[in-house]
């Protein structure tokens, strides 16, 4: 596995300059090759021209002396020619006679007069007029025949130092490397800053998208809109349109949730009326009994007890409804009693569907947590469980405290919570409001409440039914007092 991330995963601000640098290097290599090839060719052409000019001058000057076999005159020409031809640095020049002996050389110590030209040296030269170039040793060898009236009277052999040409080549290579390297770096930097500048609107967009994910859907301000290119401007416009749509939807969903709340209140009210009405018949009977048997203390006592229980039941139902829908509770505290009221509110739901409610409140003492919110969460989940459970099924609620958190588990025996509904509770990010037509406003409200209390919810699907576990952090005592 590669140690580096795949190229497509790299940021554009890195990829583009790298691509520019790679292209520049490729272009530089190609151009350098072309320049060098052309330079080498030009240098060889120039060297040939210069060498020919050198040999033309030398042969014209030396020919009369060679015809006469004049050692001194030949040497004098070769000696004076040294350094006279710019561009041709002759290391030595030899005039060789047709018999292979030296008539004279510019370096007579190495090539004494009338001695044979060394065979090893002779092999470096062409046997006809021309130039042999050896870049490795930085030398070129020239041969030029000397002719008079059609007869060969000898030839000039000269060794040329081409180190200066090779030096120019090295300098050109160095210049190419430096210039192209500097250009590659400069273009890469320009590419980096240009791309960074061009991608700035994406950063703005990303920031606002992240805010939206956190629940704050805000349009991108106009001042950013003015600075960006038209493509990004359109993108910003679309984002702002979306932000407005989301905002509208939120408002609408809130209204719907409110309406749902009142609808539920209506249902609860009718349930409560039923719960109140039920004991009323018995209570009327008790009153009748009291009226007819007022002298019998036992009957009187039983009837009054019955009346008391009936009134207590009515009081419980009414109080629970008041606490839930009129507010007024302390939002920084949850008392165990506040939770224990909830079964009264769902009495009607459980009664009608003949559900068994297993209510276990293991919270021993008041907790530093938003009580009304917790009641709302628990009530919503409980109502949902009641609605989902089949006739005669069982619904269980368990509230407990552990490791600084309040844990509320609500289970039912329903067909199971659909995936999209479960997501309203469990999604970590912002939850999109359900559409007007769809169900789940209660769960959406519950999910938002859970998030507001920094809690999490887990939906467990069991063989029969669903179990929803909500875990809400509870402030420590010290924190609560400080608050």
């Amino acid at each position: 596995m590669s140690r580096f991330p795949r190229l497509p995963a790299w940021p554009l601000t890195l990829k583009v300059p790298l691509l520019v640098a790679a292209l520049m290097i490729a272009v530089a290599v190609i151009i350098s090759q072309i320049v060098l090839t052309r330079l080498v060719k030009d240098q060889e052409t120039n060297l040939t021209l210069l060498a020919n000019a050198y040999l033309d001058g030398l042969s014209a000057a030396v020919l009369p002396a060679v015809i006469r076999g004049d050692v001194w005159e030949t040497f004098d020409v070769l000696d004076r020619a040294r350094g006279q031809y710019s561009g041709v640095e002759a290391r030595y020049a030899i005039v060789e006679l047709p018999d292979g002996s030296v008539l004279a050389a510019s370096d007579p110590t190495s090539f004494p007069i009338h001695s044979p030209v060394p065979a090893e040296l002779r092999s470096k030269f062409l046997n006809k007029d021309g130039l042999v170039i050896n870049d490795d040793v930085g030398r070129a060898w020239l041969t030029r025949g000397l002719r008079a009236e059609g007869f060969s009277v000898g030839q000039i052999l000269a060794e040329i130092d081409i180190a200066s040409l090779l030096r120019i080549r090295s300098q050109v290579v160095l210049t190419l490397i430096l210039v192209n390297g500097a250009l590659a770096i400069a273009f890469s930097l320009i590419g980096y800053f240009a791309v960074k500048h061009m991608l700035q609107p994406l950063g703005v967009l990303s920031r606002y998208v992240e805010r939206a994910r956190e629940g704050r859907v805000e349009p991108i301000p106009e001042r950013y809109r003015k600075k960006v290119a038209s493509e990004f401007g359109q993108l910003f416009d679309r984002f702002n349109a979306m932000a407005r749509a989301v905002s509208d939807r939120e408002t609408l969903a809130s209204h719907l949730a409110e309406q749902d709340k009142y609808a539920m209140l209506g249902r609860l009210a009718s349930g409560m009326a039923h719960e109140v009405n039920n004991p009323l018949g018995g209570m009327m009977n008790a009153i009748d009994t009291i009226q007819s048997h007022s002298e019998d203390p036992e009957v009187l006592s039983k009837s009054l007890d019955f009346l008391k229980r009936g009134l207590a039941g009515i009081r419980n139902v009414v109080r629970a409804a008041l606490v839930t829908y009129k507010g007024g509770s302390d939002t920084s505290l949850l008392t165990p009693t506040e939770l224990d009221d909830l079964p009264f509110l769902v009495q009607h739901e459980t009664g009608v569907r003949r559900l068994r409610l297993d209510w276990r409140n293991r919270v021993p003492e008041p907790l530093a947590i938003d009580g009304p919110a917790v009641r709302q969460i628990t009530l919503n989940l409980l109502l949902n469980a009641c609605a989902a459970s089949p006739f005669g099924g069982a619904v269980a609620v368990e509230a407990s405290r552990s490791d600084g958190a309040l844990r509320i588990a609500v289970s039912d025996e329903g067909p199971g919570l659909p995936q999209d509904m479960a997501a309203l509770l469990t999604s970590a990010g912002r939850i999109a409001a359900p559409s007007r037509e769809s169900k789940g406003l209660g769960l959406w409200t519950t999910g938002n409440l859970i998030k507001r209390l920094n809690g999490v919810a887990a939906v467990e699907r069991r063989e029969t039914g669903t179990r929803i576990v909500v875990t809400l952090p509870v402030k420590t005592e010290a924190a609560r007092h400080a608050a």
Binding site: V71, W72, D76, D79, A104, T109, I113, H114
Partner: protein, 287 residues
């Protein structure tokens, strides 16, 4: 200058052997032809200009300085009347002593004398004349006393010739060239005018540094300024002699002498060249 010479050459060339051919150019009022053999300053334009200016002033007529590559050419021109006077080597003088009159003899180190040197390349181990046997030898000119005759005479005394004594030999037609040839290693030994070698030691030490003297001859009469015998009494010729003798007293003349590293001129006598003549005769007898 050149057209005058050319015209004269054409005129005289058609009758080179005739008496009229040696009739003096100095008789003509329009100019004076003075020949120079290549000594060591064979390319010193400034010196030639100074000599021309000095002689023109003193002779009150245009002076043409004639230079040729070899001594022989100058001698031939002098003898054929193409030149009114010439500075030649003592060898041609002794060869044609009956036809040439001495006008003046240079004073080198206050004497009208000089020596022949035999030099070798500094890397050569030769210590004496006999050690140069088998070397490649550079002569100056076949008509030069110091650059050929003395060495030739030394070989004649040894009953040998350059072709037998030396591995190879060639002429460079200039004393400075002998130093160049020996210094560069083209030749391992060479015959040269001692006066030229000494002067060049001061003026071109880098060139002379690579040579070393292995033999010095006896003192010989210095190469003289001569005129054809037939015109020696002509006013212009006499004026030339006087101009040369007066050179140390003239500012321009002093400059010329300074460049030539000479002290002045003296009137020479033929007996100063007896030794040279003796050597020439010996060599001539061998040939």
């Amino acid at each position: 200058m050149i057209p005058a010479v050319s015209r004269r050459s054409i005129l005289l060339g058609t009758a080179a052997a005739s008496v009229s051919s040696i009739l003096p150019a100095a008789g003509a009022s329009e100019g004076f032809n003075f020949g120079l053999t290549p000594l060591f300053l064979d390319n010193d334009i400034e010196l030639l200009a100074m000599v021309e200016r000095y002689l023109t002033k003193r002779l009150e007529r245009p002076i043409a300085l004639i230079k040729r590559r070899t001594y022989h050419e100058i001698s031939a021109m002098l003898l054929s009347g193409q030149l009114d006077a010439a500075w030649i080597c003592d060898d041609p003088y002794v060869q044609y002593q009956d036809k040439l009159a001495l006008l003046a003899v240079p004073l080198y180190r206050h004497k009208p004398l000089y020596q022949t040197y035999v030099i070798v390349n500094d890397s050569n181990s030769a210590q004496s004349f006999d050690d140069i046997r088998g070397t490649v030898h550079a002569f100056s000119d076949p008509d030069s006393t110091s650059g050929y005759l003395v060495t030739r005479w030394m070989l004649a005394l040894r009953q040998t010739t350059p072709a037998r004594f030396f591995r190879d030999s060639f002429f460079t037609y200039g004393h400075r060239n002998v130093i160049r040839a020996v210094g560069a290693g083209l030749a391992q030994s060479g015959s040269i005018d001692g006066y030229v070698w000494e002067v060049m030691t001061e003026r071109e030490p880098e060139l002379v540094r690579r040579t070393r003297i292995v033999f010095k001859s006896e003192w010989l009469g210095f190469p003289p300024i001569v005129t054809p015998m037939v015109i020696r009494d002509m006013p212009a010729v006499k004026a030339l002699g006087a101009a040369l003798l007066d050179m140390p007293t003239d500012p321009l003349g002093q400059k010329i002498l300074s460049v030539l590293a000479l002290d002045g001129f003296t009137t020479g006598t033929p007996d100063m060249y007896e030794s040279t003549k003796e050597k020439w005769l010996i060599v001539k007898a061998q040939v």
